[in-house]
């Protein structure tokens, strides 16, 4: 499954909730404000690093760039553009947006 999270972990618990329900081998795509979770030095970094062990974690490039945090992306998180987002949706039989 492709899990999509769009909020900062400091604003909503959607990332935490998602991670508690993402099965091994799933994909997690961070978009909009959720990209902050994948930046070095933030307190969600450990959760994201742990997530990369069980899931493939992606972050939307345009959202990282808009927020000025493209350079501080956590190792192991793959950056994709909107085309990559579409590919992820096509690749996974089901997707779930954690709003």
């Amino acid at each position: 499954m492709l899990h999509i999270v769009n909020k900062s972990p400091y604003e909503k618990s959607s990332l935490t909730s998602c991670l508690a329900h993402a099965s091994k081998g799933s994909a997690l795509l961070l978009i909009e404000d959720a990209v902050y979770a994948a930046t070095k030095g933030n307190s969600a970094e450990a959760d994201i690093r742990r997530a990369t062990q069980e899931l493939t974690v992606y972050a939307l490039g345009p959202d990282l760039e808009a927020r000025g945090v493209r350079a501080s992306i956590v190792d192991g998180v793959k950056v994709v553009d909107y085309g990559g987002f579409v590919d992820l949706v096509a690749e996974h039989r089901t997707n779930q947006s954690w709003l």
Partner: protein, 135 residues
């Protein structure tokens, strides 16, 4: 053909396909409209003969609490609608154990019979779905 006739024909054709739909409710009632408008999608889905489940996790479990008295808010108490789901053949209601426990809610405080599952079981249920709509 009129638009309505076209839609009706198209929607009837859609019914021939049966997909597993899960509606995931994670927000509390009244503070925002999502629990109510989410429930409206669930009710409509009954007309399409799909394999429908309704999952309640996080604050979504609050929508099922007995004893909601909305008179002073001057808004409609829509919790009884969850009891009507059975009449629409929507019987798969899953509530997450951890979400209840975190909120100090017991199963007997819920307005409708549900199946309580833990997060791992909920995750497995989600993996089985064809379409997941969360609100």
């Amino acid at each position: 053909m009129s638009q309505v006739a076209e839609e009706t024909e198209s929607e009837a054709a859609a019914e021939a396909v049966v997909k597993k739909f899960m509606f995931v409710s994670r927000k509390a009632p009244y503070g925002t409209i999502y629990a109510l408008e989410g429930l409206e999608v669930v009710l409509i889905s009954a007309a399409f003969n799909q394999d429908v489940s309704l999952a309640f996790l996080d604050d979504g479990v609050y929508a099922l609490l007995k004893g909601q008295q909305t008179k002073a808010l001057e808004v409609k108490n829509f919790s009884p609608t969850y009891r009507a789901l059975e009449g629409y053949d929507i019987e798969k209601l899953y509530v997450e154990r951890e979400s209840l426990a975190a909120r100090g809610i017991r199963e007997d405080q819920l307005i409708v019979p549900v199946q309580v599952v833990d997060a791992k079981e909920m995750a497995a249920l989600m993996e089985q779905q064809d379409v997941i709509i969360g609100f």
